[in-house]
C-alpha cells in the first residue's frame, strides 16, 4: 500500500510532464493532421534553454530567490522555445501544407535529426547535470517503516502544471484565438471564408505547443537535474503515446493520457522490471491503437469513399 501510494505520487509527477508535451502533439495533429515528429526534440531544446537560463541566473546574475529564479527560467524557456517552434513551422512545415501527405512527416523527422544534432554540436555530447535546484520534502505518513514522501519539487510540478492547464483551457475555450483554432480544426477552408487567418492560427498553435513543451522542459530540468542532446526521443514518443491513448485531437485526453502513461511507467518499474519500462509504454501504444484507435476521448474516424 505504501509503495503503491509513493509510486502514485511519482507517477502523477512524471505524467504531468508527459501530459504537457502531449498537448503539443494533440493540438498540432488536430489542426493540420500531422504527427509533429520534432516535438520531442523541441522539448529537449527547451530543457537546454532552461539550463542556460538557470546557469545565467544563478552564476552570472546571482539571483538567489528560488521562486523568482524558477519563474524567470520558465518565462525565458517559453519565449525562446516558442520562437524556435514558430521558425520551424515557417521553414519546414508551411511550404508543405496541402502537399503530399508523407512530405511533412519526413520533413519533421529531418527536423528532429537536425535539432538533436544541432544541440550535440553546439553544446557537446556529454550529459549536463546541475546541482538540485529545489530541495526539501514532506513526509505524508509512515507505514511499516516506509515513509511516503512528497518532495517540494513534485509539489511545484503539480502546481505549475495545474495553473498552466487552467490558463491553457481558458485560452482555448474563451478567447478569440481559441475559437479560431477550433474553427480551423473543423474546416480550414470554411474558417478562412469567415475571416479567420488560418496561417496565423496555425503558427500560434505551434507557439502554444512549444510554450507548454518548455514548461515541461523546465520542470524536467528541475526534477531530474540532468539532460543530454538525445533526451528528446523517448519522452517525445511517450508523450505521443499519451496523446493517442487519450484520443488524438482531444485536449483533456492528452493530459489524462499523460498521467496514465506516467502511472503505468512508474508502476511497471516498481512492480515488474525497470529495464522494460519503455516496453510497457510502447506496448500500451500498440494495444491502444489496435483495439481502441480513437483513444479514450477521441472521436471515431469515419471512412468515406
Amino acid at each position: 500500500m505504501e509503495v503503491f501510494l509513493q509510486q502514485l505520487i511519482n507517477g502523477i509527477t512524471l505524467g504531468s510532464i508527459y501530459g504537457l508535451i502531449a498537448i503539443g502533439y494533440t493540438m498540432v495533429f488536430g489542426i493540420i493532421g500531422m504527427v509533429n515528429f520534432a516535438h520531442g526534440d523541441v522539448f529537449m531544446v527547451s530543457v537546454f534553454i532552461a539550463l542556460v537560463a538557470f546557469l545565467l541566473l544563478s552564476s552570472v546574475l546571482g539571483v538567489t530567490s528560488i521562486v523568482l529564479a524558477l519563474f524567470l527560467i520558465l518565462i525565458v524557456a517559453m519565449l525562446f522555445t516558442s520562437l524556435v517552434n514558430w521558425t520551424i513551422e515557417r521553414l519546414a512545415y508551411r511550404p508543405l501544407r496541402g502537399s503530399f501527405r508523407l512530405a511533412p512527416l519526413i520533413s519533421a523527422i529531418g527536423m528532429s535529426i537536425f535539432l538533436s544534432n544541432f544541440v550535440q554540436v553546439t553544446q557537446g555530447p556529454r550529459n549536463k547535470s546541475i546541482p538540485p535546484m529545489v530541495q526539501g520534502e514532506f513526509v505524508l505518513f509512515t507505514q511499516n517503516d516506509y515513509p511516503v514522501t512528497l518532495s517540494l519539487k513534485q509539489l511545484i510540478i503539480w502546481l505549475v502544471t495545474a495553473i498552466l492547464l487552467v490558463c491553457f483551457w481558458y485560452l482555448v475555450t474563451k478567447t478569440r484565438l481559441g475559437r479560431a483554432q477550433r474553427a480551423c480544426e473543423q474546416d480550414q477552408k470554411m474558417a478562412a471564408l469567415v475571416g479567420v487567418d488560418v496561417d496565423r492560427t496555425i503558427s500560434m498553435t505551434f507557439v502554444i505547443a512549444a510554450a507548454l513543451a518548455a514548461v515541461a522542459g523546465t520542470m524536467y530540468l528541475m526534477y531530474y537535474g540532468v539532460v543530454s542532446f538525445a533526451d528528446g526521443f523517448v519522452p517525445g514518443v511517450k508523450a505521443f503515446t499519451a496523446a493517442v491513448l487519450g484520443g488524438i485531437g482531444s485536449l483533456p485526453g492528452a493530459v489524462i493520457g499523460g498521467i496514465l502513461i506516467g502511472l503505468i511507467e512508474t508502476m511497471w518499474s516498481a512492480y515488474f522490471s525497470i529495464d522494460y519500462k519503455d516496453v510497457a509504454a510502447f506496448s500500451v501504444l500498440a494495444i491502444t491503437l489496435i483495439f481502441l484507435p480513437q483513444g479514450l476521448f477521441g472521436r471515431p474516424d469515419v471512412e468515406k469513399v
Binding site: L55, V60, R101, A103, L105, I106, V237, P293
Partner: protein
C-alpha cells in the same frame, strides 16, 4: 520586355527591413544555444562560456543572406517564372534510356575503377566505407520500397527486421557453426516470419497510426535486444561473428585461404571486393524480384491497395493477405541485408538498430520518390554517400582551423538535407511512375496522378 508583364521593381527599403528582421530572428534563435556554451569546469561544475563572435557571424550571415535573396535571387526567380517552360529537351529522354545500363556497368566495374584511381592500399576504404555502405542502404531502400512504395503501408520500424536478420545470422553461426550460405536464406525466412507476426496486429491501422505502431515495435525489439543479456549479450553486442567464405574457402592468410588457393599475395582487399559483389548481387536480386512481382497478381494487388483500399475490397482482393505478403517480402530483404551486415562487420550491437536507421531508410524511400527504384537508388547514394564523403573532407580543416571536425556535422546536414529536399520536391526526386501494365503504349504517369495510399 516582350512578355508584357512589367518586372517588379526591387524595393531596397523593404529588402533592408526584411534582412533586419531575419537577423533579429536569427539572434533570438541562436542566442541561447550558440551564444552560450555549457561546459564542465575542473571542479566538475557546469559553467557558461560565451561565444559572441560565432553568434554574430551567424546573425550576419542570416541577415546578408536574406538581403541577397530579396535583392538578387527573388527577382531572378520571378524572371524565370515569366518565361514559358519549354518542352523537355530530347537529350533528356536519350539520357533516361541509357542511364540504367550505364549505372549497372559502373557499379560492376566500381572496384576496378577505385583500385585504378586510388591504388591498391587505399581502395579498401573506398570500396568498404563507400561502395558497400551505400549498397546496403540501396538494398534496404528497395526492400522497404515494397512495403511503403508499392503497398503504401507506412513502416517506421523496418530496422527491426534488419536486426532480426543480423542477430539470426550472428547467433546461429556462432552457436551451431552453420555457414553463411545456409544462414542467408534462413535469416530472410526468420525476418519475414517476424514481418507477418508484427504485421498481423496492425492490419487495421493506416497512415500515421501505422507508422507509430511500427515504430513502437521496432523500439520494443531493440529494448529486448539490449535487456536479454543471456541471449544477445546486451549493449556489449556479439563479437567474433564468422565471416563469409568464398564458397567454402576462407579469406585468411593460411594454407587453405583464398589468396593461397588462387596463388595471390594475401591482402584484405579480396574479402572487401567479394563482399562488394555479394551485396551488389543481393541488391540486384531485390530489384529484380520487385520488378517481377509488380507484374504478378500480388504485385498489382499491392499497388491497387495503395491507390484505394475500399475499391480493392469491393473487387474481392483479400486485403489481409495482400498486406501481410508485402510486410513479409519487405522484411525478408531486410533479413538478407541484416545477415550480410553481421557477416561484414563481424560485430553487432543494438546500437546499429536504432530508430534513426529506420528513419534514414524511410527517408531514402520517400526522398527517392515512392515506388521508383531508380529514385531510391539515387537518394541512397546522395544521402548515405554524401554523409560518408563528409568524413573525407579534411581540407575544411585548413579553412576553419585544426579543431574543426567535419564528421560532427554529418547528421546535422543529413537532417537539414531531408527538410530541404522535401520542400524542393515533396514527391521525391523521381515523381513520375511507370505503369506496371499497359494497353498499347507505355506512358509515364504524371506526378499529379500519382497517389500515395493511406495505409
Amino acid at each position: 520586355m516582350t512578355s508584357g508583364a512589367p518586372a517588379k521593381r526591387v524595393d531596397t527599403a523593404r529588402a533592408l527591413w526584411d534582412a533586419g528582421l531575419t537577423a533579429l530572428l536569427a539572434f533570438g534563435l541562436f542566442l541561447p544555444l550558440v551564444g552560450f556554451e555549457t561546459v564542465t569546469d575542473v571542479r566538475n561544475d557546469l559553467i557558461l562560456v560565451t561565444r559572441w563572435p560565432l553568434l554574430f557571424a551567424i546573425v550576419a550571415i542570416a541577415g546578408l543572406g536574406r538581403l541577397a535573396y530579396s535583392l538578387a535571387i527573388e527577382p531572378w526567380l520571378q524572371q524565370r517564372a515569366i518565361r514559358p517552360s519549354a518542352e523537355p529537351a530530347p537529350w533528356r529522354r536519350y539520357i533516361a534510356s541509357w542511364i540504367i545500363p550505364f549505372a549497372l556497368g559502373f557499379v560492376i566495374l566500381y572496384p576496378a575503377i577505385v583500385i585504378a584511381t586510388a591504388g591498391f592500399g587505399r581502395a579498401v576504404k573506398w570500396i568498404d566505407n563507400f561502395g558497400i555502405q551505400v549498397l546496403i542502404y540501396v538494398m534496404l531502400g528497395w526492400g522497404l520500397n515494397i512495403v511503403v512504395g508499392l503497398a503504401g503501408l507506412l513502416d517506421l520500424g523496418y530496422v527491426a527486421f534488419y536486426a532480426v536478420g543480423a542477430y539470426s545470422y550472428a547467433l546461429l553461426a556462432k552457436t551451431f557453426g552453420f555457414s553463411f550460405w545456409i544462414l542467408l536464406p534462413l535469416a530472410g525466412i526468420l525476418a519475414s516470419f517476424w514481418g507477418i507476426l508484427l504485421g498481423f496486429p496492425v492490419l487495421r491501422l493506416r497512415g500515421d497510426y501505422l507508422a507509430i505502431v511500427t515504430l513502437a515495435f521496432g523500439e520494443i525489439i531493440r529494448i529486448v535486444l539490449i535487456n536479454w543479456v543471456d541471449l544477445t549479450n546486451g549493449y556489449a553486442g556479439i563479437t567474433g561473428i564468422p565471416r563469409p567464405t568464398f564458397f567454402g574457402i576462407p579469406f585468411n592468410a593460411e594454407e587453405g585461404g583464398f589468396a593461397a588457393v588462387f596463388g595471390l599475395e594475401f591482402s584484405p582487399i579480396y574479402r572487401t571486393i567479394f563482399l562488394y559483389y555479394l551485396i551488389l548481387a543481393l541488391a540486384l536480386l531485390t530489384a529484380f524480384v520487385t520488378v517481377r512481382l509488380r507484374r504478378l497478381p500480388v504485385g498489382r494487388a499491392w499497388e491497387a491497395l495503395r491507390e484505394d483500399e475500399i475499391a480493392c475490397r469491393s473487387l474481392g482482393i483479400n486485403t489481409t493477405n495482400t498486406k501481410l505478403t508485402a510486410f513479409a517480402m519487405g522484411a525478408m530483404f531486410a533479413g538478407f541485408a541484416g545477415s550480410f551486415f553481421a557477416a561484414r562487420q563481424g560485430f553487432i550491437s543494438p546500437d546499429s538498430f536504432t530508430f534513426l536507421e529506420s528513419a534514414t531508410i524511410l527517408s531514402i524511400v520517400v526522398l527517392g520518390g515512392m515506388g521508383s527504384q531508380i529514385g531510391v537508388a539515387i537518394a541512397a547514394i546522395v544521402m548515405i554517400g554524401g554523409t560518408e564523403i563528409m568524413r573525407e573532407l579534411d581540407f575544411l580543416k585548413l579553412l576553419f582551423g585544426s579543431t574543426f571536425d567535419p564528421t560532427q556535422y554529418r547528421m546535422l546536414l543529413f537532417g537539414f538535407a531531408m527538410v530541404l529536399i522535401m520542400i524542393w520536391r515533396p514527391r521525391g526526386l523521381i515523381a513520375t511512375r511507370d505503369p506496371s501494365v499497359v494497353l498499347k503504349e507505355r506512358k509515364a504517369i504524371g506526378k499529379d496522378l500519382v497517389k500515395e495510399g493511406r495505409g
